[in-house]
Amino acid sequence: MPEFLQFAFSGLTVGAVYALVALGFTPIYNASDVINFAQGEFVMLGGMTTVFLGLAGVPLPLAACLAVVVTVAVGLALHRFAIEPARGASAVALIMITIGASIFLRGAAQVVFDKRFHSLPPWIGGDAIRVGGATILPQSLVVLGGAVVIVVLLWAFIERTLIGKAMVATAANELAARLVGIDTRRIVGLSFAISAAIGAVAGILISPITLTSYDVGTLLALKGFAAAMLGGIGSAVGAVVGGLLLGLLEAFAAGYVSSQYKDAVAFLVILIVLLAIPRGLFGRASVERV
């Protein structure tokens, strides 16, 4: 029993990480139908910028805030210089552009930062919490809490602000959005800024657990993408549920089968979701009536 509980806790810890990464996909996807494969690099930039500003003597809380600002600037630049010039291209072409951007950002990070692994101290320290013979670190709860806060903020933004609704409108019908006077280019730009900010926060919160380096983005984006697919891409709640489920699946597969198969779980999930429930668990149902 303690063994089961311990697997569950480590699953939730990893799952919370995936949930945070998966959440970053939602704003861009919702505003423009683009799956941003540079999302993992936003996560890397959040963590690595904080680490390096910290090494340069900047107090860590300030370094973390600056890291969010830097990552948002990179997100806006990605939109302005890579996505915007390809306006009107197919979603597949835009996805290819984000893959290119991801490779570029990884290369740039290798030069600007370094190739080593780095860690951040936990944002909330203290001893591991014991429950029924198993333990969980306070930092895991911070990551989980971060995911919940982001879900609530995203929900409030979409449901309670007119700009949030303009974002939904732009995604639902770009032409009609332009005809009511929405500058749809800026709305999509805003979605890149929000996704970048979520990615950076994710990187800052998870680095104490996962460590960070210039190339952590690739695997994280893959896991986050699998989680988002499982939950239903575009749904914030789905991202969190999908992330936690994927984390638990991985932990139990590693615990009861073999840790060699851990990473294969994500691929399996992608395959099964694509074949069986392409919309995911919480994917948006179409409300169109024709």
Partner: protein, 233 residues
């Protein structure tokens, strides 16, 4: 109020408008008649800035529009009810209306919302329902209400009665007539040429990307060719 001069526009390398000129004076209802594929929608889209033009000039109240993006033209007072309604399906009726007033989002919208609900009571009853769930007629009313929320001075209507029951068509044309009385200028594209000419002051006949004829509504109603081609006489 609006003058379109020698506008050319197309899709890819195929030109759909071969130099079109029209004028609309303040307070008029002007209608565009023409067969399927004549270029009416293309012209309306060009006026709104969602369709690029390759030549010509478009002037609205002494402002050149050619270089203005679509959203800036809405702010100047041009609103369109697009062909096929194009409501924001996942959003509620009320959110659709609020977004209609996007260019005036600092204004107090309570009074405007109330006036739209007075014009279309069925929208009030469904204000919290997703627009995608409405019937075709209700969506059309929502699309008109949404355009009015922008407080336009020029309203462009692209086939507002398409696919609607005759009683709804009548109702929508009544609304258009009422808008003119309230001082709005209207450019109306309508399949039902007889109904359109009944409420219009003037009209243009568009044929394969050119203006074929124009004149007052009475002149067009009496025109032999218009009668044969569009009035089924």
């Amino acid at each position: 109020m609006l003058s379109v001069e020698d506008v050319r526009s197309g899709y890819g390398r195929i030109e759909a408008l071969h130099g079109v000129s029209i004028n609309i004076a303040a307070g008029e209802i002007v209608t565009l008649l023409g067969a399927n594929g004549a270029g009416k929608t293309t012209l309306i889209r060009a006026i709104c800035g969602v369709q690029p033009i390759s030549a010509g000039r478009i002037r609205f109240e002494n402002r050149q529009l050619e270089d203005l993006p679509a959203h800036a033209r809405v702010a100047l007072g041009i609103a369109q009810v697009p062909e096929g309604r194009q409501v924001f399906a996942p959003l509620s009726v009320e959110d659709n209306l609020k977004l209609g007033a996007w260019t005036r989002r600092d204004a107090n919208l309570v009074a405007e919302l109330a006036s739209i609900y007075e014009l279309f009571p069925m929208l009030a009853a469904n204000r919290h329902i997703s627009a995608g769930m409405l019937s075709g007629g209700q969506q059309q009313m929502l699309a008109i209400g949404r355009a009015l929320m922008a407080k336009p001075r020029l309203l462009l209507l692209d086939e507002p009665s398409m696919g609607l029951a005759p009683i709804l068509v009548e109702q929508i044309l009544d609304v258009v007539r009422g808008l003119k009385q309230a001082g709005l200028t209207v450019l109306l594209v309508e399949q039902n040429a007889r109904a359109a000419l009944a409420i219009a002051d003037r009209g243009y006949v568009v044929e394969t990307g050119r203006i074929a004829t124009s004149g007052s509504a009475a002149q067009l109603l009496a025109d032999d060719r218009v009668q044969a081609a569009y009035l089924g006489v």
